[in-house]
Symmetry: C2
Subunit: 277 residues, 2 copies
């Protein structure tokens, strides 16, 4: 395993992840150290992946929990430069989609279930509900996260691409998805470009996300003020627009325009065979 | 790391996960071997977890990717036996919820965002959409899966509990969630009871879930027939009702009654402050 911090660097790993708000973490090992090292990678070398890497990542993905062992997901592996170029356009020209040698499209796949219903000459009453779509999307997310952990353990970089939902119908066309199958997100996989800086990004203090027994928001305002400072410093160190987290939340959640058309998702899903009642 | 298969047991790990349909997996290491070893644990010793375990798991969770660094999730840690007993009832009397020393409730948390909007005296136009709820649920899933990988690396067992969605309002009441916060699933964490058998469960062959460049279903019928045999043998070995996977899919997806009321989720979410337009 490349690039694993040794267990002795626990304090350092926690400080990178939380800035000054270091939590009272206990047990530690190399797997946990590797998880703490995650950062999204948006610059890749063009080198292909070692043979069998895709199958290893899918074996990790298949090993994640899945609701009632139903496995309502599948994955399309894209390496064709022309297709990746089109997918990058849909995602607002995210160049890393073109750069990475392997782009994985994670599919909430009820089409497989429909084929089972057809083959068995029966009707599945539970298909058109929000609950069912949500389980499929969550199954896909658990699988993808295992693939991500596996990729990072091999020294590879990844970044999730939610912007596949800017135009799920065009994405489906590009890779031949049938009705009742929709890409919930993409995932770039490749060798990180060593010339590009990729620092671990600080997260909210645990006191803002972890609730003991009952939900509470005491201390949240102070946490947010401290986190705003951490993120402003992070942005400045990483040559991003130096702004606070609060401002980023306002930019992302405030104007409907920030959704890039994704407010139409429910109607689009209906047209793709997911009713989401 | 306890109970890690050495990298040399790659063939054995793949055979346990896929039965006869062993894929052409390539690179391998101890992290990947640990991911392949996953099995859901439904019997726990009552022993408490080592001090700081919760904080370690949350540090792993916080390290997962999150859409635009928005972190639209939180987690409620439940150890009170009385509360766990009520939560077990909601889940159709799943006794492992009572047994495990730590039960984590993973929350799609737009309430934190609403508090930011209120504090900043602004309106967030992007809140009431399916897209936004889905991102929150996926963020919670990515975080929970990292916590699961971390727990298993420490020799602990886990099992996801989707049945928290049988009654999201009662779950919210039990742990004091505000409006716009909903538990998407629970996660038992604890020391596995060594007396209980927990075999790695086979999954669908990779040829049914992995598509190269374009989606296709050629070979799916043959895959399913082979997998039906694997799962019937697995069920028989594990003293479960010996039935095929196809039959389980029909039982789970066929009758609306199998949803245990979860077909009402969209309306319930609306009552909880998630409009899901």
């Amino acid at each position: 395993m490349d690039s694993l911090a040794p267990a002795s660097s626990k304090a350092h790993a926690l400080q990178r992840r939380y800035g000054a708000a270091v939590p009272a973490a206990g047990p530690w090992n190399d797997v946990i150290a590797a998880l703490l090292e995650h950062r999204s990678v948006r610059a890749y070398r063009p080198d292909p992946l070692p043979p069998g890497t895709l199958e290893t990542l899918v074996a990790a993905a298949s090993s994640a929990a899945t609701s009632s062992n139903m496995q309502w997901w599948s994955v399309v592996a894209v390496s064709d430069p022309a297709v990746k170029k089109e997918l990058a356009k849909i995602a607002g020209n995210q160049k890393h989609i073109e750069q990475c040698p392997l782009f994985l499209l994670w599919v909430a796949d009820m089409a497989r279930n429909q084929r089972i219903a057809d083959a068995e000459k029966t009707t599945f009453e539970t298909m058109p509900w929000l609950e069912t779509f949500m389980v499929a999307a969550i199954d896909a997310a658990l699988a993808a996260q295992n693939a991500t952990v596996a990729a990072e353990s091999l020294g590879l970089g990844t970044v999730y691409i939610g912007a596949m939902r800017n135009d799920p119908q065009r994405v489906a066309e590009l890779v031949g998805l049938p009705k009742q199958a929709v890409v919930v997100f993409g995932l770039c996989v490749g060798h990180p470009d060593p010339a590009a800086k990729a620092e671990v990004k600080p997260r909210l203090p645990q006191s803002s996300v972890l609730h003991h027994g009952r939900y509470g928001a005491t201390g949240e305002a102070a946490d947010r003020a401290a986190y705003d400072k951490e993120m402003a410093a992070f942005s400045s160190r990483n040559e991003m627009q130096a702004t606070t987290w609060t401002q980023r939340v306002k930019n992302r959640l405030g104007p409907i325009a920030s959704m890039n058309g994704r407010e139409r998702l429910r109607g689009i899903l209906a047209a793709m065979g997911f009713e989401v009642r």
